[in-house]
Symmetry: C2
Subunit: 428 residues, 2 copies
């Protein structure tokens, strides 16, 4: 068993029930042990307000009196002790038998009655490449004998992404146009992408800043993370193949990225820590990427799923079909290692920055976190239960990501859903 990075407290007690009935359902993502933060509004004219998910409701946090503002960045920037105190106060008010039930009842809204937005304004967005099974499978498509580059097992590979086009679950976007090079052609074409894909990722959201020039040690790294959401890093594979040399992906990725609306906090994830291990055949992490805590509990046991809902399924009333399952524990680097690496050169992280894990695929072929993997680069179409086939995404397709944490003797928590839908390319 691994030692938890964050000590468990009353808020993790699986026996605690809430006076919000829906939070006690066995299958809810949001029992009282979760308490994720997000932003909601009733309409587009209203500013975003801070809420906490509890069962199928949102607790209006400002209305409880626990905060005197609606600035999520400010809430996220609080020191760890203050964050834990806030979590405990919310738990105290929502638990069955709380004396606050009567007054807090007025601060509850149905999640379906409000719009859920980005959990906070995004600062800089960095995407890593920690899914070694993804990197290996994709690498094989290009270099069958040498899929992983020599730096992969030393450097937590990452690159900068586009913050402006990150949207909350429910995001719809038009199929992007771009330059592509057909096989054996020497002159590129221009038009809508024919190889539109998703990528199953987790996003870690920065809370506390570090100053420019001041690296964050791996021991302190997780203090700078507030919580996690799901992340779909939509990708146009044909655009990517033509544009990405020598500086990396650009227009193939920056037309849209979708995140789930609820920030599942590092505190809520405390019971789901897992050991971080390195095969004896692999290089051991350099000193700045290594700590006893990281070895014993640096990883997170988060089960992940990708669902596809085609227009045909939607018309038939079907919620969709599951395409794959994987687990965040299979990532080659931990979140603490990502923070330590990102800042080791003095780079400053700021509250609201997003660190994506990269595509989190499992070791088996059917655990690929993208269609590129599941269809072997578009060569083998998936046949769906209703007889439809897919190599890449078609107009009208929705992709739904889901995540949850389960462990014996602990209350299950979930991430809610991260849904995005492909619209036809805009007419010119």
């Amino acid at each position: 068993m691994s030692a938890p990075v964050i000590a468990l407290d009353a808020t993790h007690d699986p026996a605690t029930q809430s006076w919000v009935e829906s939070a006690n359902a066995a299958d809810t993502d949001f029992p009282i042990q979760n308490l994720p933060f997000g932003r909601f509004r009733h309409n587009r004219l209203e500013p975003w307000q801070i809420g906490v998910a509890i069962g199928d409701r949102v607790l209006d946090l400002h209305a409880t009196g626990l905060i005197d503002h609606n600035d999520m960045a400010r809430l996220m920037a609080a020191p760890v002790a203050a964050r834990r105190a806030l979590r405990l106060a919310i738990w105290e008010g929502l638990r069955a038998g709380s004396s606050l039930q009567k007054v807090w009842s007025d601060a509850l809204l149905r999640q379906t009655e409000v719009e859920l937005g980005l959990p906070c304004e995004v600062g800089d967005y960095t995407d890593f490449y920690t899914g070694i099974h993804h990197a290996t499978t994709v690498g094989k498509l290009f270099r069958p004998d040498n899929p992983l580059l020599p730096n992969y097992k030393w450097v937590p590979i990452g690159y900068h992404g586009r913050a402006s086009s990150i949207g909350a679950s429910g995001q719809q976007f038009h199929r992007p146009r771009g330059q592509t090079l057909k096989p054996s052609a020497t002159v590129p074409d221009f038009g809508p992408t024919a190889r539109l894909d998703y990528e199953l990722e987790i996003a870690a959201w920065v809370g506390m800043d570090n100053a420019l020039g001041a690296p964050v040690s791996i021991a302190d790294a997780e203090d700078h993370l507030f919580g996690l959401t799901l992340l779909n890093d939509w990708s146009a594979r044909d655009v990517q193949a033509w544009e990405y040399q020598p500086l990396g992906p650009f227009l193939a990725k920056n037309f849209a990225s979708t995140v789930s609306p609820w920030l599942v906090t590092m505190e809520a994830l405390a019971p789901f820590r897992a050991a971080f291990t390195r095969s004896a055949d692999d290089p051991q992490p350099m000193a700045y990427l290594d700590s006893a805590n990281n070895r014993s509990a640096g990883a997170l046991d988060v089960q992940l799923e990708v669902w596809l809902q085609t227009p045909t399924m939607r018309e038939a009333g079907s919620a969709g079909e599951r395409l794959s399952q994987s687990n965040m524990r299979d990532a080659y680097w931990t979140l603490a290692q990502l923070v330590a690496h990102h800042t080791v050169n003095g780079c400053n992280l700021r509250g609201g920055d997003v660190l994506g894990t990269g595509t989190l695929s499992g070791p088996a072929p059917e655990q690929g976190g993208s269609l590129l993997e599941l269809t072997q680069g578009g060569k083998v179409a998936l046949t769906l239960a209703n007889g439809e086939t897919r190599t890449f995404l078609q107009d009208g397709d929705s992709i739904i990501l889901r995540g949850s944490c389960e462990r014996a003797g602990v209350r299950r928590i979930g991430f809610g859903e991260c849904r995005g839908t492909v619209l036809a390319a805009r007419s010119l």
Copy 2:
């Protein structure tokens, strides 16, 4: 002669003098024909205020009554007609004989008496690779027979950079640490970079947004740009070589980037437009990257210089030694093409976003915009006039970028300076 994209008006008349005496000096960067915008403050406790450079002074724009706020993003987001009207009003107040001289005199500060900051908060930062001479020289270091990749002459290659570590002229930063792989080694080292370099670039700053999903045509592209500054994209070449495959530069670049404080507006640059041409041997730009206006006047004639001031020079009272000269006109793509390309997939640009040109080197070897080029990858040291030598930057070195526009019959304008200084690596 090329037709200007923006019509010239009274504000470009070279005969106009200002009642601010220093603005009439032949060698000032800031005559009344320039009127660049920036942000200043008297001390760290004061919020940033909007100023206009005139000679060696700053005009406090709010104090003139021409604006009722100090929000640069708001000023930059104004439609083109409003921007031109503001420029004309400032020109009217500052020209010799203006009836406003008496009241505006109280709104003037010495530039040396205030701190000049970033011209506005940076949103997303994209760096392009438009310097074909840079791309060719650097490509030759890796691929002598095939320096330019096949996509270079079709795609305005770009990637996302780090916004949080962009600082204003005067920025000082510690030599970054990172992983590097010594020649013929198989196991990487960790330590301070030994190949610290600068890159001479121009930054274009976005004013007006475009909505996600709504590409900006090349005809409208420059309406979305407010103005230009100098940009030094500091680079750790040894870190870059080891980390950049397959997703591009990351820690090699994101420890610091420095910009000059004054936004030289697209209006001020109107007299310095130049024709954009393509060799008949090269592919002609695709339709979305082509327009009659772009061909006749899409390029900009901006002369650029890099200066080095070593600690020895500083002690000797020397302002430094010029390392190279080049011109923005030699870029392979125009700013309008960068905006059209960046948004063609629906990506949204927002006010405060920065688009870097990439390193702007000239065609001759001595016109390299980085030490990597000037020293042939660190193999041939530069010998300076005082006998010092450099392959890459040493602790205490300052790099100063300068830019100016000159043309017969037109008043010369300049960009001010973009200065940054390397400090020793922090002790661990």
